[in-house]
Symmetry: C2
Subunit: 230 residues, 2 copies
Amino acid sequence: MINCLHGGCLVCRERNEVFNSLTGDELATIDTNRTNIRYKPGEIIFKQGAPCYNFYCVTSGLVKLFIENGNHHNLIIDLVTPVEYIFIPGIFNDQKHHFTAAACEETTACLIDIHVMTDVMRKNPDFAMEYIKKISRQSIGMLEKMSGYNHKQVFGRVAETLFFLSKEIYKKNPFTLSLSRQELADMTGITKESFIRVLKKFKEDQIITMEGNHCEILNFQMLEMISKNG
Amino acid sequence: MINCLHGGCLVCRERNEVFNSLTGDELATIDTNRTNIRYKPGEIIFKQGAPCYNFYCVTSGLVKLFIENGNHHNLIIDLVTPVEYIFIPGIFNDQKHHFTAAACEETTACLIDIHVMTDVMRKNPDFAMEYIKKISRQSIGMLEKMSGYNHKQVFGRVAETLFFLSKEIYKKNPFTLSLSRQELADMTGITKESFIRVLKKFKEDQIITMEGNHCEILNFQMLEMISKNG
DNA sequence: CGCGAGCTTGACGTTGTTCAACTAGAGTGG
DNA sequence: CCACTCTAGTTGAACAACGTCAAGCTCGCG
């Protein structure tokens, strides 16, 4: 955000390791082909099914990536924090988005034309390798999530979600949520009613406190155990 | 299989598009660093959690990739048919396998040292791009699967599995299964009892026939509709 | 002929969803 | 300033979907 708006990619480079492998020239090319856009909470950044033209790097705020299922609930597959780019699997295949991205808070993102990025990727094998690393990590995450969906029940999944939010997204404890109960449920793969019931149980068991959007994890060990053992 | 054993990688090259981008020299390097191994049905090829040393290309038979969950059921995340390589996401990260691979039938595979592969990848950007394409496709598949797990119920999922087996794995109809009921259930993310009950219903409704391991899809349209609508 | 592994079926219990009602707080207009 | 509405959150009761468990079946093989 402040980085990209004022310092250009040279500062971004310090934040997201993928860009470390670029030369000054390559970075300059990307910098000149970059647009920074501001999104309000709830606004859609790109839409599932639409063609993809840009590479997105979130520079401030919080972005949710979710799959839309007609009449069914959405499934939030990932949250993207600054300074992180959004992995768009369709870029190298059907050139379509396979999920929707929307801002959860006031958010800014850098847009870079995908041709510029792929050119750089072709020319700089280190950059390509970094990208492969990134996608691989993403895949590992998805595998674990998928496995969790299959054998964990609600308590384990909610515990996992809370743990993830504190450790990976807000990076503190206590923390203040910028996600609604519905969104929390969507990223856990259950209904909001079920999510709330589990929260209530966790509160009763003194594992967390939760008033409105302010949440504190009181017993990390217990939460992790519940998360692991389903 | 016959390809790799007798013709070397030059023939394999005709089969798996990822290798199309390689020069003769690069292909020769891979060819000389290649070992072809034969696995009996049920044998483990590599094990979840173990360090990864090789790149695997399935040259005959059928391989299942599955996540092991302690006391819970396994989850089959993918089946690999010839001539296709196994995507190993840990190669570029923690150097560990994140799932187990096992032969479902009599299977042969070419093993190539990962350093040889990554060297080639670094030198040949086209090859790297092909690899990125591959991982991306894999990711899209996983996303769809994950989404399906979350909103489809058993009928939809079983329909999806049968459809997938006929279209992608055996590539014909009728087809003869080399997977047990337990394995079919594991790749659908349900219990074998549930899988069997759904099969029974499909048979009653004249959508399929299934005697032992011989299966025929009678009504593709209906099956696809059930698969889509859950 | 008998054994065992995989398959099939039925009865039952648990889990989580659905639906509906109720509450609290924020924004709006008289 | 007070209804009014609207949305998000919360709770309870009823229900459906799956999983679990246990028993019986089939078929290949010694």
